[in-house]
């Protein structure tokens, strides 16, 4: 098995999971796909450094988060990472009408500040452990706990009107 085949067999099955996180981070499919593509490229280059047998999904998320923060760091210079200047009209599609009914959860999640949202997604959607999340975000476990707590409290408030 070549290095490339091994990488494809081990890493590519996680493409959808990575896309899910990327989409929650960027809020749009265009940027999420670019983010995932860049993540897999970097992961492929660094594949020799991946410790076989450890959680590859956590390792891929570490790279995804790094690509995202690098893009933010370049934000001052790169026009592609300029933040949205407002909330414009959506492209109307039939799916919009269908999705409108059951989207309160996704809306509450998307409404969180990015630091909390990422922590909640890594824990509750991707099911990573606190240790793995601390590794992905490069922060102490106490910070992970605090961000998940704040994120969930804000979501509970958004969904049920409870004070955060």
């Amino acid at each position: 098995m070549t290095r490339e085949q091994r990488f494809e067999a081990e890493a590519l099955p996680h493409l959808k999971a990575l896309y899910g996180t990327a989409y929650r981070m960027t809020h749009n499919a265009h940027d999420a796909e670019d983010l995932v593509q860049e993540t897999f490229l970097r992961a492929f280059r660094a594949f020799d450094r991946y410790a076989s047998g450890t959680n590859i999904r956590a390792w891929l998320h570490t790279i995804l988060y790094r690509v995202r923060t690098d893009a933010f760091r370049r934000a001052g210079r790169s026009p592609r990472t300029v933040e949205l200047e407002g909330d414009g009209p959506p492209v109307p599609t039939p799916q919009d009408a269908l999705a409108a009914g059951g989207e309160d959860l996704a809306r509450a999640l998307d409404g969180l500040p990015e630091a909390f949202r990422t922590a909640v997604v890594l824990r509750d959607v991707q099911d990573l452990t606190y240790e793995e999340i601390a590794g992905v975000l490069g922060v102490p476990i106490g910070t992970v706990m605090s961000r998940i707590h704040r994120g969930r409290a804000l979501m509970r408030a958004a969904l049920g009107g409870r004070k955060p």
Binding site: A29, L41, V91, V125, I141, A153
Partner: protein, 242 residues
């Protein structure tokens, strides 16, 4: 122990040291507030775990596989050959059929989103031009609308080898993209091209190339006319009377 909401979160996640769990469980039994928090967090977790995941486009996996193959580690003797190929590729990418194909792909990509990924939202051409100007791109005079399609916003889009200003026009049902393409485009003659089923026209305007993409030929025609008229009108206004 007193209430410690962050610890309750860690307890729900099974991330708490086993030694402190008995104390916390005793507290939970006595404190309805903390018990409610734990229950709500468990319920929220359960909902998030089964929340439908956003689906990537079917093309993404193929794109990733292609990009992995595009970057093998070159042997040293391969380098001059690779350099030649890169030069050829750069040369090839400047050709108008290739640019037209890239624009058409990007048009489908942007308008394929449920929500347009614009970086600036405005129906005012002056406002959009000003936004691009502040990011270092000069946009030629652009129409506010044509053929029922109105300007709604814009962003920078990556075209494989260059970043173009991309302006979105829509009537809700139909879409048109106006691109300001930097760098050289060889043979941007205003002939119609149809890559990926879209109508594409490239027009040389001053020092830049403008690309128009739409699913409908009439829309491209209308914008090509509107662009020429706007420029002619501006030139007439700017020129001092004899």
């Amino acid at each position: 122990m007193s209430c410690d909401p962050e610890r309750i979160t860690a307890y729900v996640d099974g991330a708490l040291d086993a030694a402190v769990c008995p104390d916390l469980e005793a507290h939970l039994a006595a404190c309805p507030e903390c018990r409610a928090q734990a229950e709500e967090e468990r319920a929220l977790r359960a909902r998030l775990r089964v929340m439908p995941s956003p689906e990537p486009s079917p093309e993404l996996e193929a794109r990733v596989r292609r990009s992995l193959r595009a970057r093998p580690r070159p042997a040293s003797w391969l380098l001059p050959v690779a350099a030649g190929l890169v030069a050829l590729l750069v040369w090839g990418r400047g050709a108008s059929p290739f640019v037209a194909w890239e624009l058409s792909r990007d048009h489908d990509h942007c308008f394929g989103n449920r929500r347009l990924p614009a970086q600036v939202w405005s129906s005012d051409p002056a406002r959009v031009a000003e936004w691009f100007e502040s990011h270092g791109t000069t946009v030629p005079l652009i129409p506010e609308s044509a053929a029922d399609l109105e300007l709604v916003g814009a962003r920078y889009c990556f075209l494989g080898d260059r970043t173009a200003a991309h302006l979105y026009y829509t009537s809700g049902e139909h879409h048109l993209s106006l691109y300001v393409v930097p760098g050289p485009v060889r043979d941007p003659s205003p002939r119609e091209r149809r890559p990926r089923g879209n109508f594409v026209r490239l027009m040389r305007m001053g020092g830049t190339t403008v690309g128009l993409v739409s699913e409908k030929e009439e829309n491209v025609e209308a914008f090509a006319r509107a662009l020429s008229t706007t420029v002619a009108w501006k030139m007439a206004v700017d020129r001092p009377a004899p």
